[in-house]
Point group: C2
Chain length 230, copies 2
């Protein structure tokens, strides 16, 4: 089957560093879903505001394919799949079957996220809680149906024990607008460091919504060292 | 993006008539997910048994495209999309936006179902609760993560009021094996009649797992009139 891009995600995540590993209900980060001209039809959204949550089926893009060569970056079909992957959640050392993970390195590099529907603005959908890079292609949007999609007591395999990891965040907002700062605090509290590195001296840089944030992590607290307009 | 078929669903639903409109946790119907040779790799399932539920991303197939011409049947890309559709749940007369429904007539005819993982048998996954036609192509399998995927209190739009519809079923099992009969009772209790027709004299026929079932619906009860081996 050949998939057509129906929309693109637009948000502050211009950098894959800092994107939450999963969509999260409590995330304050807003994403605008901008339809392509052919699918920009008000009628196609009739009744959608009756739903509090939606599903997005989307494509992992070049920025996720850090292990592919630069000559193939940008082509989602060039993403290698691998029968086993090393989930960051497990520290990056343990191999799990790709179908037991949400890794991008799957036979078909599709992502799946549930998001909260905030509203419709000028024909775009505004959602929160999406774990998407800015510019991510979207292939389908479906209503979330709690009676078939919600399994509160589902057993979460190896993901279970780590789900509550959260860090404290301290630092000065400086010139960062309040809403953007709120997003940054949220992102940093989720510990965006790759593979649970733990070097208190190490400085990390993350771009978010036009700002470059420099931080380090010491004794379970994220210290924001600097914020700079890009 | 060009999707590759990684597996096919195998179950008793050889007939689209009777397939539940959504996947249902309580469904007793089992589906075997048979991997294609390239993806039939035991390693790719490592750790999956730690999860109680999985997501399937799959393709709507020819049998759903009753409004396309027979010359295009079989080609998923030939399914027309329509900005509005008439959900059977609303009696088939009310138009809703396609993105506010799970209708097959979407820009990319992808289906999404959460299923319960029963186990692994000879390299196949055995699941229950799938709302899939026998032979449905599967494009992705992901673990269900309750902390990002479960929204118990989600608002279900127009689907809300109808979610508890169930019919009583009466009839004789005859020669139908017990397990198959249990599946048939479950399917009939969900009222498989198209568009909420309500003619007590009308006889319906449904094929399931090698049996042809003839029934009618009178005063909210499904009466099985006949079962016959195909």
């Amino acid at each position: 089957m050949e998939l057509k891009v129906i929309a693109y995600a637009r948000n502050g995540h211009t950098d894959k560093f800092g994107i939450p590993r999963q969509s999260r209900e409590e995330s304050p980060i807003r994403t605008r879903i901008v339809f392509e001209p052919e699918y920009r039809v008000a009628e196609a959204l009739r009744g959608i505001e009756g739903y509090s949550h939606l599903w997005l089926i989307w494509g992992f893009s070049r920025s996720f394919s850090s292990h592919t060569s630069s000559s193939t970056a940008g082509d989602p079909n060039s993403l290698d799949w691998s029968p086993t992957v090393r989930p960051p959640r497990l520290g990056g050392n343990t191999r799990m079957g790709v179908f037991a993970t949400r890794s991008p390195f799957r036979p078909n590099p599709l992502g799946l996220s549930s998001v909260r529907l905030i509203g419709i603005e000028q024909g775009d959908l505004i959602v929160s809680g999406a774990d998407l890079l800015d510019g991510t292609p979207i292939y389908d949007i479906k209503p979330y149906l709690s009676f078939s999609d919600s399994h509160e007591d589902a057993k979460n395999g190896f993901a279970e024990e780590h789900k509550e990891d959260r860090l404290a965040v301290s630092g000065e907002r400086g010139d960062v607008p309040e809403g953007v700062w709120e997003d940054i605090i949220y992102i940093l509290s989720q510990d965006p460091r790759p593979g649970y590195q733990d070097d208190p001296e190490r400085e990390y840089k993350m771009d978010y919504d036009g700002w470059k944030v420099t931080f380090c992590v010491q004794k379970g607290t994220v210290l924001v060292k600097n914020t700079e307009k890009i």
